[in-house]
Symmetry: C2
Amino acid sequence: MYNFIYEIPTKVYFGENQLQSNLGSEVKKYGNRVLLVYGGGTIKKIDLYQKIIEELQSFNIETYEFSEIEPNPRHTSINEAAKICREKDIEVILGVGGGSVIDSCKIISAGKYYDGDIWDFVIKKAEIKKALPIITVLTLAATGSEMNTTSVISNMETSEKKGIKSPLTLPKVSFLDPTITYSVSKYQTACGSCDILAHILETYFSRNKGLYMLDKVMEGEMKNVIKYSKIAYNEPENYDARANLMWASSWAINGFTRMDRQPNIWICHLLEHQLSAFYDITHGLGLAILIPRYLKYALNENNVDTYYNFGVNVWNIDSKLPKMEVAIKSIEYLENLFYKDLELTDNLSKLNINDQHFKEMADRICENGIVEGFIDIDKEDVVKIFKKCL
Amino acid sequence: MYNFIYEIPTKVYFGENQLQSNLGSEVKKYGNRVLLVYGGGTIKKIDLYQKIIEELQSFNIETYEFSEIEPNPRHTSINEAAKICREKDIEVILGVGGGSVIDSCKIISAGKYYDGDIWDFVIKKAEIKKALPIITVLTLAATGSEMNTTSVISNMETSEKKGIKSPLTLPKVSFLDPTITYSVSKYQTACGSCDILAHILETYFSRNKGLYMLDKVMEGEMKNVIKYSKIAYNEPENYDARANLMWASSWAINGFTRMDRQPNIWICHLLEHQLSAFYDITHGLGLAILIPRYLKYALNENNVDTYYNFGVNVWNIDSKLPKMEVAIKSIEYLENLFYKDLELTDNLSKLNINDQHFKEMADRICENGIVEGFIDIDKEDVVKIFKKCL
């Protein structure tokens, strides 16, 4: 019956030069002491750091900084940042970066009100009951964290990478300026695009039938990502490409297309989180390797319709061909007309990953038995899919 | 550059049986004295009235009622309802109905804080500075009022029908239960579907280039409306059809697909509002008569691409045909495969409307000179388009 509750109150300033005067006034609405959180030094290279500091100064906002967020963000860094929030009585978190930074901000914001290890939130030893307001400036179109409630955090001590959600950590305001992403490298552009497409795909390839309208919306979103990922990859300063990918990143995973088909377990994401946890590889790259293999593995007579619709409506494959033929072609098109163009490493062996940990990874994915996603998978299935990626 | 600010915080409970316990608790969040606003007696016929009263009672909410809202809501009725708000110190407006009721609620909510005639808001003699919180229960998929800031109000004394927007009047919470629309008549189902499609069309056929992603989303939304309007028309209790139309009604006009292409003047809506103002005809019917004529009138070599995309992507017309041929076909398909199936009166003469007031209507539409919409139109154009509708 697709019952759901829709609620996405994040305010988004989209476009060029929206930061100026809006960022300061938005921060000011929520407080006067801000923790500016970012990752490496990229934001300094592109003058974004300077713009933000000037903006905060012009609104007399007391600013503290934390710049030690890793690409797969670690719980230890988040603990450090949360400590600053408690010590300096921070009132607002301002995250400037991609998914890693924004994911971190969510848990930092909850950490303000928790003295223990924030990993407790991830393993459900503690519950997020209160969180600081979060404002974000997005620098990479990929994870959609700027408009959703999810964080993915890594614990390198235990080789764990886990997702956690709380409506309390949804960003209040996000600034999406496509020109900020002009400097994103070809590699990160490719990985980001793979991540966006994966979010749409894993919802579209769902065992739970959802609203036809949202299937149509997702088909449109996928066409958009397929078209503009190549253009952004080849022309980093193409505004249309960066803008379309940026807004797509938010809408691929803010819940709009997903909330009518719960439960909706994303199997490839589960598999990829293990790859990243064990080998610290980029999430989008892991997904690019996994998704075509997974789709081939999952295809059967019972679910061929979803592939057929994907083939006909996204790839314009002739609708008169037999369904199974369209299904197989749709995966070939995805490989040849999307992933290949992004020139990412196309198997795990080339990344010096072998089958050594596959069983352990499968044990973790299936720790509660069979996982019921688009298809049911058990430990053996997981190992088989990983092996196909070698 | 498509800069915009996205902000649609309306919370939506979608699906069957979501009213129970959620309606009372949501109302209670905003206040204890509610004005229940509805139109004719339909909500009593389908037992919805009883359910709502019981729900409000079980939360001890003090309830007042106003049930005099007309299909094209009059400013005089809104004045009456606003007076009740002031006299009874109402804290929340609960609108149960379609667009007319919800549009009215928005102005009633502002009228609580204004002693004068609410028509002053419409003609900009007064400004909406404060408004009561609004909660809605939708009974007809059409206008999208449940998730946007717009009201359309009629003044029968002056034969005027005008739109007004205020972010303060955006509904806080809307309940969308597709089964409530099972009892909507064939005629109202048809008119509602025409309204939804028109909202998407008038954004899609825009002179301002917007994000490709949103064009793709609109194409998907249009396919959805085209598919399910016929099904809902023929099978009123088809849940899929009612659900897909209902969610489409909100997303056709909540601003998501429109905010990147401002200014975005909807010419057919301007024309139709004059028809309704002079002849009190159903908005969706007026649009159904106007839209194909308008699209034919507007087509030229400079804008043929939009029609071509509409033809190829929405109607699956062969992309290899000449652009102008696809464009003309796309309008024919719209007439023959959408409007005809809904069996609405297909010209104004059959509604006993002649050209008597066309000039006056054109004067009003073009009171400030040329209207710059998808095409530029002047008074002569308006009269010509109306005449094609006879």
